[in-house]
Structure formats: structure tokens, C-alpha cells
């Protein structure tokens, strides 16, 4: 166990995904260290989102292994990964549209007594105290994201940026160890993007690890310690953004602005 706690948080080992004859992801390997923000970049069709989907458990790999926190999770179901702290968000924000914003956060809280058989049989008394704590936790999170006034609005009525925020808050309610973010800045206004960058940096300072697929290279530059560059299903290079800008190979595959 001591070894597990000191190794990399996420190890991707020769991961592959074939669709018929197409090798969407072609044997990639990289790691995400504890408490770091790692970027995954590359041109369109490089296989970034497929790689992220396999790590999150949404797509089953054709080959290779994934280890998380020292445990092999290659065949593990998505909900089981979420429960051990590997949490993803989606490229298009997905909220529970007919629940309120606050409920969207509450629903994600792990180990809820009211969801278990004992809680259903026991009724309110079995879960009321835990629910009270979760409500204050969720309300505090809404405050930090400046969305307290939206608490009782149905999430389906929120704007695109607000939905993105709800999704990230929902992920945080799950007390993740590693957060997988698929283009979190897409479709956000510049000011909202800056705000989200600050939030993500603060979270990383607090010990949360992030793996980020992002097109906006300025964001990647600002947030990510290590950057993994993918092209045509393979890892082309990895390192700091400043080093990668100078790499001829990366420049050819991915025209860096």
C-alpha cells in the first residue's frame, strides 16, 4: 500500500482502441503524477477524447492496461471508477435537467444513506442528518462558484457556461482524486474561462490531480505542469509546454501558435 500511495496516480500502459481497421488510439503510455495538472493536446482526430473516454470507463480499450492509485482498473465499470475517485466531465456539459442546480450537486455525493436499502426502508430518519450536511456542503460550493442564486432553478434552464460549472461542481462533490476534464473551456466566454482557470489552479493547490484535454493552448500553458502531445493515435512527445514549443516534431504535427 505504501508503494501504491507514492507511485503515479494514473498509469496508462500501451493503451489501444481500434474501430474496425482504424487505430484511434495506438498504444499510448503516460502517467499523471499526484497533485499535478497534466495536459493532453493534439490536433483534431489525434485520439485524445478516445483516450480520456477509456480512462474514464466510457469506452472499453482494445488493448493495454490502466492503473489508478496502484489498482488495475482496465475492465472496471464507469460508476465503480467514479466511486474510487476517478471522475470525468463531458465535452458537452451533461446536467440532470429536471433536477435543481443544488440537487445536481447533492445527487453526486458518495455513500448516501438514503440510497441504500436501509435508508429506503428506514425513511427520513435514516438519512436526514447526512442530508443536512450535504446540503450545506453543496450550498458552500455554489457560493464559491458564484451560483448561489441559481440553487433552486432547474438545471435544464441554465446557460451553457453555468451547466459547465454545475458539472464541475458535481464532480467535486464526489471527492475525486483525479478529475478528467474534456475541453472544459470550450464555449465559455473569455472572462468565464479565466475564472475557471483560477478555480482549477486552486483545486490543484489543494492536492487534486487533473488530466485536461484542451485546445486552448494558452490555458494549457498556464495550468499544466506536464503536457502529453498526441497525433494519429500515438504519443508524439511529452514535457513542459515551453519545451514543446521548440520541438520540431511537435510543430510539424500540431501547428503551435
Amino acid at each position: 500500500m505504501a508503494l501504491a500511495a507514492t507511485g503515479p496516480l494514473l498509469e496508462v500502459d500501451h493503451l489501444e482502441k481500434h474501430y474496425g481497421g482504424v487505430r484511434a488510439v495506438d498504444g499510448i503510455s503516460f502517467t499523471v503524477e499526484r497533485g499535478s495538472i497534466t495536459g493532453l493536446i493534439g490536433p483534431n482526430g489525434a485520439g485524445k477524447s478516445t483516450a480520456l473516454a477509456m480512462i474514464g470507463g466510457f469506452v472499453q480499450p482494445s488493448g493495454g492496461r490502466i492503473r489508478f492509485d496502484g489498482v488495475d482498473i482496465t475492465g472496471m465499470a464507469m460508476h465503480a471508477r467514479a466511486r474510487i475517485g476517478l471522475v470525468r466531465t463531458f465535452q458537452m456539459a451533461r446536467v440532470f435537467g429536471n433536477l435543481t442546480t443544488l440537487e445536481n450537486l447533492l445527487v453526486a455525493a458518495p455513500r448516501q444513506r438514503g440510497e441504500r436499502a436501509a435508508g429506503v426502508v428506514g425513511g427520513r430518519r435514516a438519512w436526514r442528518s447526512q442530508e443536512k450536511e450535504l446540503v450545506s456542503e453543496a450550498q458552500a460550493m455554489l457560493e464559491t462558484f458564484s451560483m448561489a442564486q441559481k440553487a433552486n432553478d432547474l438545471a435544464g434552464t441554465l446557460s451553457g457556461g453555468q451547466k459547465r460549472a454545475v458539472e464541475i461542481m458535481r464532480a467535486l462533490m464526489m471527492q475525486p482524486k483525479l478529475l478528467l476534464l474534456d475541453e472544459p473551456m470550450a464555449g465559455l466566454s473569455p472572462s468565464l474561462s479565466r475564472h475557471l482557470e483560477d478555480v482549477l489552479l486552486k483545486l490543484a493547490d489543494g492536492g487534486l490531480s487533473l488530466l485536461l484535454v484542451e485546445h486552448e493552448l494558452e490555458t494549457v500553458d498556464k495550468l499544466c505542469g506536464k503536457v502529453v502531445v498526441m497525433a494519429q493515435g500515438k504519443v508524439l512527445s511529452e514535457g513542459r509546454m515551453s519545451e514543446l514549443r521548440l520541438s520540431r516534431e511537435v510543430q510539424d504535427a500540431y501547428v503551435i501558435g
Partner: protein, 322 residues
């Protein structure tokens, strides 16, 4: 008196319809499972109740053949009916395990419904084929007829009361919230750590128990049960109650049941009969039902009573959801 008899029939139908609609609303309205085979769990409950109360099939000169054949007391027989519904509901739920899209799942379950009707109708010694089962004992047959009728109404009322308490345990609180999240987006629910497959099976077992109890109560009251009582279109009538009443709202769908099942489908019986077209009033009922459902989908998709969510001020919900 005729009106009294009619009132009893209406109340028993209302109660059994409520149980079935609550169960289907838990599946479709709350958890998002388009179970178009729901009437099969009602049938399972009715047949189960019949064969555990009818006694051996050689009785009454052996004019009907069926499997099993016991003489259990009625409270136990009702429980057997609910259990049969839960079991069959779970089996139907297994068809959804492939993580098909919700609409495909609905079609798969509709096919299950048609298949089961065909199998039961083919007289293979299961439940006496298309003729169905008759002489299912009424638990209060030893009382005088008037008392027996109202005793049955009381029995149905008690079942509804217990049913509603159980139902609210699943539709409110953290469990209700999780099921509604699964309905809104099952992929996002998985990503939020919810075991969608397990939740679906649990919901279809519980919803099945409601349907099974409904069928058992109906069989005990009518005294007979045959494939014509559980055509797939009956599922659509329950769905209409849900759409008109307000998908996801327990009170709403209860109101929908009152409007659709009682006022509309029973109400057409008061229309004047035309001798040359004996089935006309019933057909007319189905046409009105279809038209009402379409009208609600167009003009008031949230139904009569909209699903309400709890609002939070400070630390506790100021209102329970409806």
C-alpha cells in the same frame, strides 16, 4: 342496488389502477424506463393469485387446466401475486441490461409483451389458454354479498395506503433524486458513481410488485382472468394516465388515473348503445384516450400536476416534493 354495485366496481378499479400506475410511474416517470411490457407484471400477479387460490386443476370436473393449484389464504395469495410481479418485472428488466437506448428498450419490452401474450394464449397447460381462468375465489364469499363488496373495497384501500407509503420511500429523498438523475441522463449518472444497471433492476422489481398486487386484487374481485384482460394496449392506458397526470409526480399520476381510467374509460359505458355496433362505446373510449394523450403531449407536456422539486432555503427543504 345497482348504483351501489357500480360504485364498488369503480372504487375497486380505481384502486387497482392506482397501484399499477404508481408502479409504472416509478419505472417510467421517475426512473426513465419505458416499460411497454408493464401489463405483463399485472398479468403475472393475477395468474399467480389465481393458481394459488383455485386449488388443483382437476377440481370442478377439470374444465380448466393450469399449472400449480393451491389453496392459500388470501393475504398470502396477494403477497404471492406481488412477488410474481416483482420476479417477472426483474426478468423484463434483464432485456434492458444491454444498455440500449431508452427508446429501443421500450420497443424490446413491447415485443416481450406480445410474445408473452402469444405464449400464454397458446393453450399449453399454463393458464388455460385464451379462455383463461374462471371461478377464482373471492376472499369474502362467505359474507353476505353487500358486506362482501364493501369488504373488498376496504381491502383494496388498505393495499393502496400501504402501497403509497412504500412508493414515497422510492420517489422522494436521496433515492428519488438518484432515480430521477438516471432518468434525465443515465450516462452522467454512471459518471456520478451510480450503478445504473442495479438501480434499473431494483426499480423494475418494485414496480413489478405494484403491478402484481394490482393484478392479484383484480383477479380476486372479477373472479376470472384471461389474455383479453391484459393486451399490450392496457400498458398504453396506464402510460396515458401518467402523461395526462404529470410524469414523475405521485399526486399528478393519481389524478391522471382518476381522469383517464375512471371518468374516461368507464364513462363511455354511459353512452347510448347502438345495436348494430356492440363494441362501439369501448372503441370510442380508446379514441378519446389517444386524443387526450396527444393533446397533453402537445399543449401541456408536464401534465395536470407538474413534477415538483424540493426548494432549499438555509439548511432544510422548505417543502416536500409532490
Amino acid at each position: 342496488m345497482a348504483w351501489e354495485y357500480y360504485l364498488v366496481v369503480m372504487l375497486v378499479y380505481l384502486g387497482t389502477d392506482l397501484l399499477a400506475v404508481w408502479g409504472l410511474n416509478l419505472e417510467f416517470g421517475v426512473a426513465g424506463i419505458a416499460n411497454l411490457a408493464y401489463i405483463v407484471v399485472v398479468a403475472a400477479g393475477a395468474y399467480a393469485y389465481a393458481i394459488v387460490t383455485l386449488g388443483p386443476s382437476s377440481g370442478n370436473g377439470g374444465f380448466q387446466t393450469y399449472i400449480g393449484g393451491f389453496t392459500l389464504p388470501f393475504p398470502l395469495a396477494l403477497l404471492v401475486g406481488a412477488a410474481a410481479g416483482a420476479l417477472v418485472g426483474t426478468l423484463i428488466g434483464l432485456t434492458g441490461l444491454k444498455r440500449l437506448r431508452q427508446d429501443y428498450q421500450g420497443v424490446a419490452m413491447l415485443v416481450v409483451s406480445l410474445m408473452v401474450t402469444t405464449i400464454v394464449s397458446a393453450d399449453i397447460g399454463l393458464f388455460n389458454g385464451t379462455a383463461g381462468l374462471a371461478l377464482i375465489p373471492n376472499p369474502f364469499s362467505n359474507l353476505d354479498p353487500d358486506t362482501a363488496r364493501w369488504a373488498y373495497v376496504a381491502l383494496v384501500a388498505v393495499c393502496c395506503l400501504i402501497g403509497f407509503v412504500v412508493l414515497r420511500r422510492f420517489t422522494t429523498g436521496p433515492m428519488g433524486r438518484t432515480l430521477r438523475a438516471m432518468r434525465d441522463d443515465d450516462t452522467a449518472a454512471s459518471a456520478a458513481g451510480k450503478d445504473v444497471v442495479r438501480l434499473r433492476l431494483v426499480v423494475q422489481a418494485v414496480g413489478g410488485a405494484f403491478g402484481g398486487l394490482s393484478g392479484a386484487l383484480l383477479a380476486g374481485f372479477i373472479g376470472g382472468w384471461s389474455p383479453s384482460a391484459w393486451a399490450y394496449i392496457e400498458t398504453l392506458a396506464f402510460l396515458s394516465c401518467i402523461i395526462v397526470g404529470g410524469r414523475g409526480s405521485d399526486l399528478g399520476v393519481s389524478l391522471g388515473t382518476l381522469i383517464i381510467a375512471v371518468l374516461l374509460l368507464q364513462g363511455v359505458q354511459f353512452l347510448p348503445q347502438i345495436a348494430s355496433s356492440p363494441g362501439l362505446s369501448e372503441d370510442f373510449g380508446w379514441i378519446i384516450l389517444g386524443a387526450a394523450t396527444i393533446a397533453f403531449i402537445w399543449f401541456r407536456p408536464q401534465g395536470v400536476l407538474k413534477e415538483r422539486r424540493p426548494r432549499y432555503r438555509g439548511e432544510s427543504p422548505s417543502k416536500l416534493p409532490g
